[in-house]
């Protein structure tokens, strides 16, 4: 939980260096392709982006399996962030693919192109991941259902590619599966830029994980200092909750001392609306002094 920020700077610098190298190779080192000319250089962006994006989806499925096996909410968070990043990469793939299609075939969209079409289907499927999470309120069930979705969708990715490829004639420049057929400068450029995009994905993933962890640690500390008052209730969100019961561990348990009144003590109510107005509560409670004392003890 504390280790996400470590070595992030080194990783970022390495990523930036590799990325610069990949772009430099793509623009200045790789030879001009005979048929497509300059446009073919989008290959060094589009294909690595697509490969990294799909691997991210599959990795998110593996993380989801880990989540269901261990019930550790951090695995759910990892899977969530991986799918989030892959969705962003996927938008990049669709846009760069459209540009490439327009440049080489004259149309923004080609249905006869199986890889692009299967990519669109996968993208549409994963686009429902956030709405699914958003419409389940219970955080534990949200995490569990999201993991089930991620596993099924991760297995769907390769099957879908097979199915769509069967259905269409080959139009795509068959370069991505066969780096061995490329001339050496092109293959080198491609591999370096694949490495660059992989590093970019990992860096962004770790950055997002660090940010989320920092936010959760901050909230836990705030809660420890000032009780439930500072932390708004969770409400509707698609984000995974890292600490499901933060209130139990970070406070002296007031439930251990028996509440004398028939009402529950105000400290046991997590809703913040009970906090700022002790006056109407004490007027309703049969023993107002005890109620205010237990409240002062919490804060």
């Amino acid at each position: 939980m504390h280790t996400y920020g470590q070595r992030l700077r080194t990783l970022a610098i390495v990523t930036a260096a590799t990325f610069t190298a990949a772009l430099a190779l793509a623009f200045f080192y790789a030879p001009e392709e005979a048929e497509e000319g300059f446009l073919q250089r989008i290959f060094y962006v589009h294909v690595p982006l697509a490969i990294v994006c799909l691997c991210g989806f599959v990795a998110a499925g593996v993380m989801a399996i880990q989540h269901l096996r261990t019930r550790d909410p951090r695995w759910d968070l990892r899977s969530y962030v991986a799918i989030h990043m892959s969705l962003i990469f996927g938008a990049g793939v669709l846009i760069s693919g459209s540009i490439w299609a327009k440049g080489s075939w004259g149309h923004w969209w080609i249905w006869g192109e199986p890889t692009l079409v299967s990519f669109l289907i996968v993208f549409l499927l994963y686009a429902t991941y956030q709405p699914l999470r958003f419409s389940i309120e219970d955080p534990e069930r949200q995490a569990r259902y999201a993991s089930v979705f991620a596993i099924a969708a991760g297995a769907f990715v390769p099957m879908n590619f097979i199915a769509v490829r069967l259905s269409a004639a080959y139009v795509h420049p068959r370069v991505l599966g066969s780096t061995s057929n490329l001339p050496f400068p092109m293959a080198l450029t491609f591999l370096v830029s694949l490495l660059a995009f992989t590093l970019l994905y990992i860096t962004l993933w770790r950055f997002e994980m660090t940010a989320k962890n920092a936010r959760w640690q901050l909230r836990a500390l705030q809660r420890k200092l000032a009780g439930e008052r500072v932390s708004a209730p969770r409400g509707r969100t698609a984000q995974p909750a890292l600490s499901p019961q933060p209130a139990l561990s970070s406070r002296p348990a007031p439930s251990s001392r028996p509440a004398p009144s028939s009402r529950p003590a105000p400290s046991s109510q997590p809703a913040p609306s009970s906090q700022p107005a002790p006056v109407p509560q004490s007027s309703a409670s049969p023993q107002p002094a005890l109620a205010t004392r237990s409240q002062r003890q919490v804060s």
């Binding site: 499927l125 709405p131 699914l132 993991s147 979705f149 297995a155």
Partner: protein, 269 residues
């Protein structure tokens, strides 16, 4: 529905706050010898539980008539819509296969949306969790029920399609078409049951369900329409392409295994 409560409801209604602990104890007792004993008994019990649940499902449908008549009506109306939208009285080949499969797909989604609603709203899930049985039986029962619904749907829809829209006669191609229909029904039922279980306890289930189901059903649509388009042409020679049937079969199998593996996690609260 009103005069006879569904079995799930009856079970849930019988469980008062004191009773679940007894049921849970009973469940623990029942599972212990199951693990220690031979593997024959649990499988038998899975079968019989699934059969019981399937009977409950069909009884419920027979009494409420919520899914199948709606699906059939929807499909026939869609053919009428297609007739006027395309402004044609007879279609063939790719177009015919497309119309047939789009209609069956969307009609199936109607059934999928309703599949788990009674269990989620009226305590069927809770009753199943309290009962000493494997929850995979529920998946099996739902897949079987949805397959039966789809077969009933197609018993009406395919003749109606041949009557209303199809240019060529269906007779010679019927055996091949039946194979395609059965394979596609199994796939629709497996994916539909899985997605329905995933979506039924979300807030926007009528929206989430079809949104998740449609991309997952694309391979089924590809396989089924490609396999049946040569069957729906006038000068038909040769059956459906073997690779399409293979695609459908493999997809059914793989997704069936995935759904079987992860279904338990959808039920456990």
């Amino acid at each position: 529905m009103s005069e006879a409560a569904p079995p799930g409801e009856r079970l849930a209604a019988g469980l008062q706050p004191g009773v679940p602990s007894v049921a849970a104890e009973h469940r623990g007792e029942a599972e212990a010898p199951e693990r220690a004993g031979s593997s024959e008994r649990p499988r038998q019990r899975l079968h019989s539980t699934a059969l019981t649940l399937l009977r409950k499902e069909l009884l419920l449908e027979l009494r409420t008539l919520e899914s199948v008549p709606g699906m059939i009506l929807f499909a026939v109306s869609t053919f009428v819509i297609f007739h006027f939208a395309l402004n044609t009285g007879s279609v063939e080949g790719d177009l015919a296969a497309g119309i047939l499969w789009v209609t069956i797909l969307f009609a199936a989604l109607l059934g999928v949306n309703r599949l788990f609603v009674a269990d989620a709203d009226q305590g069927g899930f809770d009753a199943l969790l309290l009962a000493p049985c494997d929850s995979s039986a529920l998946l099996l029962a739902k897949v079987a029920a949805l397959t039966i619904y789809l077969v009933l749907l197609e018993l009406v829809t395919v003749p109606a399609f041949a009557l209303f829209l199809l240019g060529s006669s269906l007779g010679h191609a019927l055996p091949d078409l039946l194979v395609v229909l059965v394979l596609a029904d199994l796939g629709l039922a497996v994916i539909g049951s899985f997605v329905a279980a995933l979506a039924v306890r979300t807030r926007a289930r009528d929206l989430i369900g079809p949104l998740i189901a449609l991309p997952l059903l694309v391979p089924i649509a590809i396989g089924a329409s490609s396999a049946s388009s040569p069957l729906l042409t006038a000068a038909s020679h040769g059956g459906p392409g073997v690779r399409w049937l293979l695609l459908l079969g493999v997809y059914d199998l793989v997704f069936g295994l995935i759904a079987y593996a992860v279904f338990d996690f959808l039920l456990e609260d």
